[in-house]
Amino acid sequence: MASSEEDGTVEEKENNNKKRTKSALVTAWLTFYNIAMTAGWLVLAITMMRFYIQRGTHKGLYRSIARTLKFFQTFALVEVGHCAIGIVKTSVIVNGVQVCSRIFMVWFVTNSIRQISTCIICQKIQNEESVILFLVVWTVMEISRYSYYTFSLLHHLPYFIKWARYNFFIVLYPLGVAGELLTIYAALPFVRRSGMYSMRLPNKYNVSFDYYYCLIIVMLSYIPLFPQLYLHMLRQRRRVLHGEVIVEKDE
């Protein structure tokens, strides 16, 4: 009897040790991930600033950072995984929507429609500028966000980082959305003319897809989605900065 009791407590201790090592590993990985992402976006920011200071123009800027941007923005998919397995407390949907919209912009709009990002003889200069707008917004937001996570994990969070993370978005979110929408809007005539990513009838799959209308639907989807994300951030801000207890609406 006594020996079985002992076994029981030994097993319990073993389980507790396993849990502790697992959470130490998880913390180590998350810290590494957030430091890497902060570094990545800092590199992007510095490259962008150097380009502009050296050349004095933003033409060709996108092309110079395209590969780094694609790498780090795509890598952010990992975060959705973090939410899904529960090591990060954000909802999968909120994070998923944000990451997907970024990846969509990078791979399916700005990347595919090179004319927008590298236009030299450009009647509509605003094409270029909208790209720079959202790039700057993303860079500032991501640096503040990832450094916030990094310092939180290290339990040494300077107040100004917390302040930045929860205040910059108030202005930057709408600006970023404006940049993204303007870019998609500028892309429309190119999409229409080239018929890219589109499929017409007749074909053996009996389906059709018009990328032009898809982009229009994407633009319209900002209308319900953006306010929800924005309000979510505002609620988080009230909770974190002012310690307000928010009672969520019951389902």
Partner: protein, 308 residues
Amino acid sequence: MKHYEVEILDAKTKDKLCFLDKVEPNATIGEIKSMFHKSHPQWYPARQSIRLDPKGKSLKDEDVLQHLPVGTTATFYFRDLGAQISWVTVFLTEYTGPLVIYLMFYFRVPFIYASKYDFTTSKHWVVHLACMCHSFHYVKRLLETLFVHRFSHGTMPLRNIFKNCTYYWGFAAWMAYYINHPLYTPPIYGEQQIRLALIIFLFCQIGNFSIHIALRNLRPPGSKTRKIPYPTKNPFTWIFLLVSCPNYTYELGSWLGFTLMTQCLPVAFFTLVGFVQMTVWAKGKHRSYLKEFRDYPPLRSPILPFIL
């Protein structure tokens, strides 16, 4: 006979909403809900959730007062489930939509395709066959809702009808648009493919119907009892040996048949989405069978034999 006193508090604010005295010990929760409804007419019984603990599970309508762990003054907590709508109403609405919508595309009602095609019919016989199969499927569902199914719950939240109808009606329109399109391409392997698809479709329709009948016969009229389903004399029910929810298995089979018949990517997509949803439901049902019945047959899988 000692009478009980019942007080009902709001689960969130703990306000006293209702006090009932001289309640019979053998009164059911359903009767208490009716009494509560009298003092608060806006909360009809179907939208009341009565529980012993503010965060606990809802009590069933059949639960008897004296068998509950309460003293002679019973305290219950109330939660408003929101506006409710009956399952039958939801089912009838969500199934009538696809039936009508598909036929509108089949008959090429104006403003869908180019005006030169208005009210014409497709020259491919598989399109007529597909229309018959699709319509048969939804007529079958409507008749089953009216005459076969025995529902555990009377109602569901009102917003479900908007969600469900968007899903069914939206997908029906998307599929019907391509199948009945003037530029529709019939299946690559022609008659062989269509014949095989039709056999699969009909087999699974009969199978699905057999399962619905078998499940209905498990439950006497008006009751909400739950029993383990077993194979009957009907060979289509022998799949119960391997699967907990063969109605979903057969449903998947029917739509796979329809996909093969029409060779249409939107149909494949609809089949996939439906499969994901039915798998979630099947896993839930399987889990609750396991929880409720100690002697549940171990060989059974939720939806696909041995796989899922």
